[in-house]
Symmetry: D2
Subunit: 343 residues, 4 copies
């Protein structure tokens, strides 16, 4: 079997890869679609992010869906031919955080396509993956495998939305409109926000944001005063989803938040210098959000019932042996939102 493997920055190869038969409690899934995530791009361009660096060749990919090809012993609720999304997250289930119900904070997490542990946990950009049966979730009939492969980023955004508290009737600002920012628009609309304002420094994603239900979408590179109307009093946004990882975006937004407003930080951005007195004086809350937990099944349920539609985000699908072209396309924000590989 072949896989999309990162060896070093800009050294992405299609390699042969072992293809183990499913053991007890496992299933083998023939992958159909795999979305390229921002972290995949970080591995591709820079070999990692922050302190996380590739130290050995690693198959990328953790937004995947496909068809069950074989089931191991003891797996009775799944069968070959079933269409499933693959949950890339595999917490240990017994550490202190798992026991508290915070599985995304597991002390012994195995997350596909992540270089956080050694040896790295191999990713899902492969013709087949063999995973624990609990990691495969059957999908609704009307849902395509391309949509199912969006379950992972949608889960991340459902989790982020929960960090913000109730969104119903709230004024929401989303800074940065890559796939995660765009999904936060979808989420905010779904959860009943009264107003959703989106900013970016590129035009193309803002056009997508408007289609997804943003009340306003501004290119702040062209119009730095676009948000002045939201500066009234001490500021009016109840919630900020910061999805750019850009210090300037976060700093500018602080002045637009109402007292007690909640900032959910999704974008990774290493060091940021912040005016701490603004956070203190307005009693703002800056909250981190990391991956997801039970939201994976919820994401599939909401898409399966037609309550959330992610199709407008999927901007291109390329064959996996064209991975380098796909990664370059995914890196060009003027041309793409979410790029998927097909297998």
């Amino acid at each position: 079997m072949r896989a999309v493997v990162i060896h070093a920055p800009k050294d992405l190869r299609i390699d042969n890869f072992p293809d183990p038969a499913p053991g007890r409690g496992e299933v083998r899934v023939k992958i159909a679609a795999g979305g390229i995530c921002g972290s995949d791009l970080h591995y591709y361009h820079h070999g990692g992010f922050g302190t996380v660096r590739i130290q050995q060749p690693m198959a990328l990919g953790h937004e995947i869906a496909g068809v069950i090809a074989a089931v191991g012993e003891g797996v009775s609720h799944l069968a070959p031919g079933m269409r499933v999304a693959v949950n890339p997250s595999r917490p240990c289930g017994v550490c202190i955080h798992c026991s508290e119900g915070l599985h995304n904070q597991c002390l012994d997490m195995r997350f596909m396509g992540s270089a956080m542990r050694m040896p790295h946990v191999q990713g899902g950009f492969r013709e087949h993956v063999t995973v624990d049966a609990s990691q495969t979730i059957p999908i609704a009939e009307g849902l395509s495998l391309a949509e199912a492969a969006m379950a992972e980023p949608l889960s991340v955004c459902l989790h982020a939305a929960k960090q913000a508290g109730p969104l119903m009737g709230r004024r929401v600002l989303v800074t940065g409109c890559g796939p995660i920012g765009a999904l936060m628009v979808v989420m905010s609309r779904y959860a009943g926000a009264a107003e959703i304002v989106v900013t970016d420094v590129a035009e193309a994603p803002l056009t997508v944001a408007r289609k997804l239900g943003a009340t306003h979408a501004f290119n702040v590179a062209n119009d730095p005063f676009a948000l002045d109307a939201w500066r009234a009093g001490k500021g009016v946004f109840d919630v900020l989803f910061e999805a750019s990882g850009n210090q300037a975006a976060l700093r500018a937004a602080l002045d637009l938040m109402r007292p007690g407003g909640v900032i959910v930080q999704l974008g990774l951005g290493s060091e940021m210098t912040l005016p701490i007195n603004t956070i203190v004086a307005k009693e703002l809350q800056l909250r981190g959000t990391f991956r997801f937990d039970s939201e994976f099944e919820l994401a599939l349920r909401l898409m399966g019932e037609g309550l959330i539609d992610v199709k407008p985000l999927i901007s291109a699908s390329l064959p996996f042996d064209n991975a380098v072209a796909a990664f370059e396309l995914a890196s060009d924000r003027s041309k793409s939102m979410k790029v998927q590989l097909t297998f």
Copy 2:
């Protein structure tokens, strides 16, 4: 009447000051005790902090208590001779934030001894103040006026404690043990924290912290590894009260917080550079806290019933005409915790 007036950095004078008779709904209070706050010291040493700067002579002081000397028309529940604490905060009561119950975020706040608005609101280091009757709260018989003058910083700390959510059974870290940090120790103990660890870079305040109920108090200037025992797993503190305003203290504490932990930032510190990825990956919450609201009456009630004892914090009392000496003493952390003026 005389007042302690700041004219410029290091230019603190005892000036003559107008002494108006109380109008309708007002009372005149003969001040007995006034505590020197960190912001008073900022005006004294630097002429202000951040963008807040003295632009005209201003009487300092907002931690004051005294005896009612005269009452204006229409004030029936107060009478001369009553011992009262003076609430320096006077929100407008009608702006959007007042209407929501967030009076400390009032858009038209008049806060005594603050240069935030022009003309500045004159402070309470005076022989008499004339204020709205609603700003004076009678105190319990057993409470001294020196203790009553602690109601303001205690209110700040009650408000900060609320930002943290329930403290019962929690592991609490307090970084910075000036008067505010020390009161956070008192608060954390009062609210049922299971463990309270305090850090500072000076010995004297740590000795006070131990007396106030800290489980451990460490001089991290001398022993940078003092907190390594709390680094287990992803870190173990549930709550941090950051009262130093020092970037290094906050950064070091991030690694000691458990996932989902809450950081309440009390210390003002202008710009701080933070590892945003740590906040994201551990889903930490950084919350600002600013002044107080209904906590002022609660502070007096808790002290009045003997549930909270602030006496160990009052390290010196000097006559107000000795203000410069008092301000210098208050600036020397090796010799003082809370310094009060007497009138």
Copy 3:
């Protein structure tokens, strides 16, 4: 001017009524539409509910909208001809609960068409009402006055939804599908519920519920086992909106709630006998919800921007001098959902 006035149970008359010119800060509104609420029906059929009883003739009605006819002195932001919804709630603004931001709990509330205080506050089923300018909210161009008159019950439901905490991704049960239950379906869909199950004992409202977005709508009079699928484990609903005021509905629902589930009680129902051990053992939360506060403006904003559509609920409009027929129609659940009077 004429008004719809209740004198005694079943004694509803069209009476002449004083029509004062607007005083300082007031406006006179020519009423266009007025919705009949369950409490109006209680006054009509029983002379009141619980301990609240009509003790003098009272104009009914508190779901009203119209056009400004005249403005008093000092009102600059409103002008004759403006289309407005009238907020029937007028809290005092200064009592302890108003000061805390809980205006719906005002100790000196004046609520139109309520017999709670003596003399009663006259209601809005009149050709004109003269109210405080702050009680009239201009409406969006595309919004009809009939829809604007739905702002009040929608506010009640927005407030109730807030009591439940975040609804995004939750499984919601709504028991009782009168106008309030039906609006809770609208709200739950708007706020992102994953599943909405509705029960009633009549067919007609269930048909409306399905149109409004209910996942399932069951007539539990015909099929007492309809909800058995939700009984799995300890029960699966996260949230119950109890809008029937019927003890049997609430009791039956307790077994369907997941541990820690939240029950928001909207329906008034005097005494109810409950299996308290079920509430204890499953750690359920039964929360009351009462009227609304700032949700009134939010309701108008959400309808005005087309985010919430209440038109499917308005089942009939009758001229106000036909009030008795309208009240009888509104009492027949097989024929009506929300009945409005026109003026």
Copy 4:
């Protein structure tokens, strides 16, 4: 080995009982002290409560502590001679509620001395118990085994306190002052309540409540108007801990709660008839609380560090072969608070 076994109402015997050697991962504990709980008394007097009934002989007791007598294979962190409290709760760890971190709601719970499942899980009033090693928690040096046996009811009360949200500065009412009500006084004091009012219909427990820190303790059988001072406005208590299971106590308290107040129901009371309109109109929250989870270790830690003192509650200790006398004494509220058996 001998055990205290209930056979039928009023038929409590000292029976011979099997004494298995500890298997892999288990330990045998020589029991030293065992507290008699209200549920033990229910089994003794009535054979159970609600739908839970003894269907086979069952050793009672779930408040136990002792000394490790033997450890099974694979247990390395415990050794004979260690003093431990025994956690009677053994959740499955894998069901949906365990996975969410709600172990007290486990679908397959094994709780010692409970007739909820068949065959019943045998209780801990025995000379020895053999349990999973994870159920034994070593205790601090200064803590007696009698105090350690209080860890279970203290855990129940820590869990109940959490249901109430922050108690710091709150006004708390406790209705019913048996051992659980008395511990809620301890908890409320520990967690920083500003005022704690306790009611009961017997004098003896009220005397204990006063010693434990209650601000006021009233015998409402003698003085039905005792609480009238707390009836001001709409009522003033922020939190009610209802520990009597008595409908009259709960009903009376509803009028004393402030709007939005929280009622935590601890007392089991089968059916209760409540004025639902009061709950609705004041937006009260009635929350159930059931057993405990991680609070067991916290209880031991707080007692071990001297932060919570339960000694004043232990009113008598009798040898276990005198169990009938001990149960009768525990049933007499005029003579006892917590009665323990010694082994």
